[in-house]
Amino acid sequence: MAKGYQLSREKDGTIRLSGQISLPQVPLFLKEMERIFREENQASFKIDLTDLEGVDSAGALALAQLEETGKAILKGMTEEVRRVFELIDRDTIHQPPLHEAEQRTPLFESVGALCIKMAYDFVTLMTFAGELIISLPYCLFHPRSLRWNDIFRNMKRTGVDALPIVGLLSLLIGLIMAFMSSLQLKQLGANIYVASLVGIAIIKELGPMMTAIIVAGRSGSAFAAEIGTMIVNEEVDALTTMGFHPIRFLAIPKIIATAIVVPLLTLYAMMFGILGGLIVGIIGLDITLTTYLRESLRVVDVWDVTTSLIKAFTFALLIAGVGCHRGFQVSGGAEAVGEATTSAVVTSIFLIIVADAAYAVILHYIG
C-alpha cells in the first residue's frame, strides 16, 4: 500500500510528519508510532504537524488517539488539519454505551430463559388458537366476510403447486420401502407381503406424515414469512386501523385453504406411494398388477383411509395455524421474519409428530 506520509526525526527527538495521513495509511502509521514509542523509552514525544498537508477523519483520529495515550504532544497543526480535527468530538468517544454489549448468558440462565420462552410460546399459541376458534364459526356463519379469492389463491399455492414434489417424493418413498423390504422378504419367499407392507405404511403413516412435512416446509414457512413481512411493513396495522380483523383477514383464508387441500394432497401422495411399491413389485418381484393391488386392498380398508384423512386434516390445521401464529409474532426487521419462518417449520413438524403419536394411541383403542 502506498505510503502517503513521511516521518522524519529532528535532533531534539521531535517526530516530524509530512504528506497526507488517510485511512489506508493509518494501520502502518500506528504500527510505526508504536515501534518508536517502544524502542525509545521516553515519557512523551513531540509530533510536529507543520508540514502535514492533510488528514482524513481516520488520520485525525489516529493522531488524537496517540495524543490521548499521553505519549504524543501534537504541535503546529495547520488550518487544513485543524478543520478535520474539529469534526471529532472527543468527549463523545469516551461516553459510555447506553446499552451494555450482549454478554454470553450462563448455562442455567439460558435453560431458564428457554423454559420461560417455551411457556410463553405455549400461552400465545393457545391464545391464538382461541382467537381462531372464535373466528372460524364467525366466518362460517358470515361467508361474505371470507375472502374467497384469497382462499382459492392459497389452495393453488399450497395444493396445486405442491403436486410435483409431493408426487415425486411419495413415489420414491414407495419405491425405497418396497425395494428394501423385498431384500428381506425374498429370502423367506414372502414377496407378496411387500404389497401389504407398503400399503399399510403409506396409507396409515407415511402418506399423511410426508405430505404434512412437505406442506410445513413449503407453505407453513411461506405463511409465516408473508404475515411477518406485512407486520414489518405496517400492513397489518393498516388493516387494523381500517377496521379489519387481522386474523379473519389473513389467517382464516390460509387455514381454510390448507385444511381443504392437505387431505386431498394426502390421497394423492398415497396413490403415488403405492405406485412406487407397485413398480418394484412388477419389475423386481414378478408380482402381477392385479395380485399386487388385491394384496394392498386386503390389508387396508376404508376406515384406515378415513382416519388418515382426518389425521391429514388435523396436520393441516396445525401447519397453517402455527405458520400464521409465528407470522403474527414477528417484531423488528428482516431477521425476525427469518426466525419466524424457521420456527414455523420446526414447531409444525414437532406438533405433527406429537399429533401423530396421539392418533396412534387413540386409534389403537378405538380399534
Partner: protein, 248 residues
C-alpha cells in the same frame, strides 16, 4: 476545479422501458450536487447508475476516473470503496449492532488494531450525534437515528464521494435540519463531494451548490444551475412549479 463525476449522454432503462435519455452533467470535486425532480422522474434510477449498481448501455458514467460501463466487476467493487451511500431507509443490517454495522466496511478493507477500530467507530457515531448507541440494534432506533447511523457507516471509509438517496424523506423538520447540518459539516470539514437525490426544496436551497431538475415526461434534465438562480430567473413553468413552491 476537477470533476469527480462525469455523465455523458446517458440513457437509463429497465428493459424496453426508457426512464431517462441523453442525460449529461458534471459534478465538481468538493461540491454538493443535488438531483431533483418529482416522484417517478428517474432520480433514484440515475443514482443507481452513478454508484455502479446498473451499467450504462448507452452513454458514459465516469466516477473518480473510472468508466462504469467499461470496468470489470472487481474494479467496480474496489472502486465502490471510494464512495459511501446513504440509502433511503439507512440500509443498516438488522442483525448487527450499530458498532458492528460501522465496523463492517472497515474490517473488510483494512487490518486496523482493535482499540483503534473501537475508537474510530465511537468517533463516527459521535460525528452523527449517536454517541453511546454502539450496542443498539437498528430496530431500536427511530427513522432519523437510522439515517444518521447510515450516514456514520457511509463515512466510515472516509469516502471521496457521498451519495444520498432522499436523506430527509419521512423525517420531521427538526430531524431534517440535523441531517442538513451533518451533511454541511462533513462537506466543509472533509471536502467530500456529495450527490444528493431529493425533492426536499429546503435541503436544495440550504446546501446544494448546483442542482439538476429531472422531468418524467421529457425523460431528462429540464434545468440546471445554482438553486437560487433557478428559482429567480427561469421561465419554464415546470421549473417554476418545482422551485417556487412555498417551503415555509
Amino acid at each position: 476545479m476537477e470533476e469527480a463525476i462525469i455523465v455523458e449522454n446517458l440513457t437509463a432503462a429497465y428493459g424496453d422501458n426508457v426512464i431517462l435519455t441523453d442525460v449529461s452533467f458534471r459534478v465538481l470535486r468538493g461540491e454538493i450536487f443535488a438531483i431533483a425532480g418529482g416522484s417517478g422522474c428517474g432520480k433514484s434510477t440515475l443514482l443507481k447508475y452513478l454508484i455502479g449498481l446498473y451499467r450504462p448501455e448507452v452513454g458514459r458514467v465516469i466516477v473518480e476516473g473510472v468508466d462504469i460501463a467499461q470496468a470489470d466487476d472487481d474494479t467496480i467493487n474496489a472502486h465502490r470503496r471510494k464512495f459511501g451511500v446513504l440509502f433511503q431507509s439507512g440500509g443498516l443490517i438488522g442483525s448487527m449492532t450499530l458498532a458492528e454495522n460501522i465496523a463492517l466496511p472497515l474490517k473488510e478493507t483494512l487490518h486496523l488494531p482493535s482499540p483503534f477500530l473501537t475508537y474510530l467507530v465511537r468517533a463516527k457515531l459521535g460525528m452523527v450525534n449517536l454517541a453511546g448507541y454502539e450496542n443498539h440494534y437498528p430496530a431500536e432506533l427511530s427513522g432519523g437515528m437510522k439515517k444518521r447511523a447510515g450516514l456514520a457507516r457511509a463515512i466510515a471509509l472516509d469516502p471521496a464521494i457521498l451519495f444520498f438517496d432522499e436523506p430527509t424523506a419521512g423525517l420531521d423538520p427538526v430531524t431534517s435540519r440535523e441531517i442538513y447540518e451533518l451533511i454541511s459539516i462533513i462537506n466543509r470539514g472533509m471536502k467530500t463531494t456529495m450527490v444528493i437525490v431529493t425533492h426536499d426544496l429546503d435541503l436544495i436551497f440550504r446546501l446544494a451548490h448546483e442542482v439538476i431538475l429531472l422531468d418524467g415526461e421529457k425523460k431528462g434534465i429540464i434545468a440546471r444551475g445554482k438553486p437560487e438562480e433557478l428559482k429567480s430567473f427561469t421561465r419554464d413553468r415546470r421549473v417554476q412549479a418545482f422551485f417556487q413552491r412555498d417551503t415555509r
